[in-house]
């Protein structure tokens, strides 16, 4: 399983497994029996359905009680207080689908005020990892080797 015999074939098998998992996940996500798109497929029948938008980005403020959020779907209209919101903010929203007005009526919202800091730390971590990589690993004979580490 870990030998060099058939190494390229084993790597190909791993890639195929990863692709299969990814495609299966994409299929499951596209066929979920919930969510904004599912509600919009048959709005009247799905009026009042519960909607959950975890970690979506506010992409527009349309008034004191209207805003739009985006993630995989762009500009989902939401009814809710916008006094503490701004474009680019990250929110998690639990809402109810209103078929008559074609919008999500906010019931519960969490404003993720530290999200930008978290993303910044992610970028900083990535840059630190890039900077540290040459000290931790070396390239030799087409393979990556870990440099010696004091233990």
């Amino acid at each position: 399983m870990f030998s060099d015999e058939g190494r390229r074939l084993k790597m190909l098998v791993a890639v195929v497994i990863i692709l299969a998992l990814g495609l299966r996940y994409a299929w499951v996500a596209a066929h979920m029996q919930s969510g904004w798109r599912w509600c919009m497929e048959d709005p009247v029948a799905r009026d009042g359905s519960s909607l959950v938008f975890p970690l979506w980005t506010v992409t527009a403020i349309d008034g004191p009680d209207r805003y739009r959020i985006s993630k995989i779907i762009k500009d989902v209209p939401v009814e809710g207080d916008t006094s503490d919101l701004h474009e680019g903010a990250t929110v998690s929203v639990v809402a109810r689908f209103d078929a008559g007005r074609t919008l999500a009526v906010e019931q519960l919202r969490e404003l993720h005020v530290l999200r930008k800091w978290k993303e910044g730390l992610g970028v900083l971590g990535f840059l630190c990892a890039l900077a540290a990589a040459p000290f931790a690993f070396r390239w030799r004979s087409g393979r990556i080797e870990e440099r010696s580490w004091r233990t």
Binding site: A14, A26, L114
Partner: protein, 167 residues
């Protein structure tokens, strides 16, 4: 996901406590799930707002790399870029790092679904939900110096050279 700084610190602390080798590989393993899953998915999501022609499935494709089955396949794939000698240890550390990453992420609370730990066999989702999704940001200012001190104590101190044999 917690931030990469927090994840890297947990890996260093784990190795400092356990005393094992392959420190850099474990740190790489703890960073890989976000780098191969979250980064492409988030980048494609943002890009898709301007370029709607990007298919939705391409955004979801990376999701399983942040789940146990995907982590196993990814660690197996990456282990082949290392020399044959010690490849099992590399695989174990890459996978250990990925599982440590998941363990830290499971502490968080999100609205909606948690982590799909049994995908593709089940869509059961789980998370402990004991900390908020950004709470690690508050911990980082304390965690980084603490980790640096532990690493210095574990690996950075000068070892006393053996002195001349008396008598």
């Amino acid at each position: 996901m917690a931030d990469l700084i927090t994840h890297a610190c947990t890996a260093l602390l784990w190795k400092a406590a356990s005393g094992g080798d392959r420190v850099a590989v474990l740190v790489a393993g703890v960073c890989v799930p976000d780098l191969v899953s979250r980064v492409p998915a988030m980048s494609l999501t943002w890009l898709r707002w301007s370029v709607p022609a990007i298919p939705e499935w391409l955004v979801y494709l990376w999701g399983p790399l942040h789940m146990p089955t995907g982590m196993i396949a990814c660690a197996w794939l990456l282990s082949f870029v290392f020399p044959e000698a010690g490849r099992r240890a590399v695989f174990a550390n890459l996978l250990g790092g990925a599982f440590l990453h998941l363990a830290v992420d499971l502490l968080q609370h999100h609205f909606g679904v948690g982590y799909l730990l049994l995908f593709p066999f089940s869509q059961w989702d789980f998370e402990f939900g004991v900390i908020g999704s950004e709470d690690t940001v508050r911990i980082v200012p304390f965690l980084v110096p603490f980790t640096a001190a532990v690493c210095w104590w574990r690996w950075g101190r000068r070892r006393p050279r053996p002195g001349p044999v008396a008598g």
